[in-house]
Symmetry: C2
Subunit: 209 residues, 2 copies
């Protein structure tokens, strides 16, 4: 089963080769895998900021406990979740759904009203927690797509969220940096590539009820 | 690229064929995909409760806004995150890491102390938010593994968490039901299988910076 092999091949790369860049055609496939990630109600309440510029990567490393993956990776994908749902987010989704599925927009109006009633009055904390969960689906699509392309990745939670948001100037867009993926190619000297994966046994994870 | 095809094939199944059961060999592959899901620091602070029993599925449907996927699916995978980190969670990880990677446990002691210092004093809210994020990585591994096996799935967030926890009797284990996957085979009469996927265009998701 190819999928299991991708999951086995992937590891959290500790040291990237800073000279090896991901070709644009592979970046496009990775982006497609993120676009296809499922989200709650299909709303896709997130943005991904892609950073390739070396100076900007260096600046972000300083806001990420100086982890060298941040500056040595070929690309940084910063997954940012919405901190608020706006009426226009739902209107846009309903419009997009109506066009994609070729049904009159009136037929989807009731569903749009339901979404508005459900989401517009939630607090920023509730929305953020919920949209941040969903970032991890998109992150996982990226990691698996990368593995299938023999591209290395390292998911990163260790960064200063406030400073990232300030650096990226995204507060005003009601977005917050939720999780980061550094992607590129492992350095030959990354010893962690030789480490055996550490995992619990299935009996310690699953309970059949 | 096979991965993109799996992502395209997958859809949130609205109606399962209740008579079609997933063979055990496929369940084992799905479980392996979940075991391989990466987690923060590798700690795997989650459990998955697998429900096949029809009466228990019916009972859970009532705690899930009566969504028929919950009772019609072949299996329910209930992803439960830890709400607290215990010293023994870290000790077990360090022990497992030392054995898997064949290094003396003393060499990993410093790392274990770091993890304890970092995690043991966090509030239950902080831990839950963090461990719940990670459930979505495992959930995504399941969805992709299923798609590669032509097994349908439906991720479900719409359920009463407190009542699930009570029904599953997991509060006392410092676990909470975070997200559910209903998996099985689509019903021929599930009209949603014919719907075109609704997705934003890449330019509305990505910002190259």
């Amino acid at each position: 089963m190819d999928i299991i092999n991708y999951y086995k091949w992937r590891y959290a790369t500790k040291k990237f080769n800073p000279d090896k860049k991901i070709p644009i055609s592979d970046i496009e496939l990775i982006k497609e895998s993120i676009v296809l990630a499922p989200t709650s109600y299909g709303l896709q309440l997130f943005k991904v900021i892609i950073i390739e510029n070396q100076l900007r990567k260096e600046a972000l490393r300083k806001l990420s406990y100086n982890q060298t993956q941040v500056s040595d990776a070929s690309h940084l994908f910063i997954f940012c979740n919405s901190t608020k749902v706006f009426e226009k987010d739902i209107d846009l989704y309903i419009e997009n759904k109506s066009i994609s599925q070729e049904v009159p927009i009136e037929e989807n109006k009731g569903y749009g009203d339901f979404l508005k009633k459900t989401l517009l009055n939630k607090s920023s904390e509730e929305i953020s927690e919920w949209t941040k969960n969903q970032l991890y689906i998109a992150l996982t699509h990226l990691m698996t797509a990368c593995a299938s392309l023999k591209i290395d990745s390292c998911p990163i939670e260790g960064f200063d969220t406030s400073k990232y948001n300030e650096f990226l100037d995204i507060n005003k867009k009601s977005l917050s940096a939720g999780v980061v993926a550094a992607i590129g190619y492992r350095s030959e000297s990354d010893n962690s590539q030789n480490n055996k994966k550490v995992r619990k046994s299935a009996k310690d994870i699953f309970q059949v009820d």
